[in-house]
């Protein structure tokens, strides 16, 4: 599916949120000159094609008490990255897991996962537990907790 101009208008129209009203898609359609049925069809298509990864509620995790936010980074041998990444991604408290490039000599880590929790010590205990369960004790790793947050906004689409 190639996006056309109507799709782009729709993407921009709902990026800040869906109207909280009984017929939200009719309201969106009114704004961009499209009927409700057409809006619904296009949004479904955007979702099926993966342009919309997920539709729903996006929380502010700090405000919900998730203040112990750890980026756990691992220096995994290249041939094991996929296996370890998938295993970590299946863990309950892991919220994101990506492979990224090393930046030697300053940064030897190639696998990043985020673990969000409410308490630092419990997050650290959890990381130890996962490390042991998955047999990753020999893989060099570091835990970087976040400190101050300076800025938070989503990307903008026009």
């Amino acid at each position: 599916m190639v996006l056309n101009e109507s799709d782009s208008r729709l993407i921009a129209a709902i990026q800040d949120g869906l109207p909280l009203s009984a017929r939200p898609w009719a309201e969106v359609g009114e704004r961009i000159g499209m009927d409700e049925g057409e809006v619904i069809r296009r949004v479904k298509a955007l979702q099926e094609q993966g342009y919309i990864k997920r539709f729903g509620l996006v929380v502010r995790h700090h405000e919900l008490g998730y203040n112990a936010n750890a980026m756990v980074v691992w220096d995994v041998p290249d041939e094991r990255v996929a296996e370890v990444g998938e295993a970590l991604g299946r863990q309950r408290c892991v919220t994101l897991c990506y492979q990224r490039p090393r930046r030697l000599p300053h940064w030897p880590y190639n696998l990043f996962c985020m673990i969000h929790g409410k308490d630092r010590q419990r997050v650290l205990d959890y990381i130890d537990q996962v490390t042991e369960e998955l047999g990753l004790q020999e893989i060099p790793r570091e835990v970087l907790f976040s400190g101050r947050r300076f800025k938070q906004r989503g990307a903008k689409y026009r």
Binding site: W25, L57, R60, L64, R100, F112, A155
Partner: protein
């Protein structure tokens, strides 16, 4: 926040029906009335517990550039450099982390080519190197919070 709010948050992070009466449908699954769901969502938004209720887009598929970047900034210069970095509209969020690489931010640009340009601009403005670490492989992107 009560049990119903918690249920709303847990359920609706995972998805939302796309249909003519989506709130009615979602409310029925939660065992509440449509008006109550709408009222509670509005309150959660007003109280700042939700950043939004809507789509999470796939930035790269929409033609944008996205990367995680890090910098090593001496403590005494940190606030000043943070201000310079955050002044770039492409910087989506920025966290201090406890490491030699102590500033971590996400860049979201309109085109993939803009990533390198913005990084060069940030290096020029601050005088510090930026380590660019774009995603190479995605193993999990749940990013859900159970309450």
């Amino acid at each position: 926040m009560d049990d119903i709010d918690r249920q709303i948050i847990n359920r609706l992070q995972g998805g939302f029906p796309i249909c003519e009466h989506p709130y009615r449908e979602a409310a029925a699954e939660l065992g509440i009335r449509e008006e109550e769901l709408i009222r509670r969502l509005q309150k959660l938004l007003d109280d700042g517990l939700l950043s939004r209720f809507g789509p999470m887009y796939h930035a790269e598929k929409l033609g944008g550039g996205l990367s995680l970047c890090a910098m090593a900034i001496p403590e005494e210069r940190f606030d000043q450099v943070a201000e310079q970095v955050n002044a770039f509209p492409e910087v989506a969020h920025n966290y201090a982390r406890d490491h030699k690489l102590n500033m971590w931010f996400v860049l979201a640009t309109e085109t993939p080519e803009r990533i390198d340009e913005v990084l060069a601009e940030i290096e020029a403005a601050t005088g510090y190197k930026v380590y660019n670490m774009p995603k190479q492989e995605e193993f999990y992107v749940g990013l859900r919070f159970e309450l």
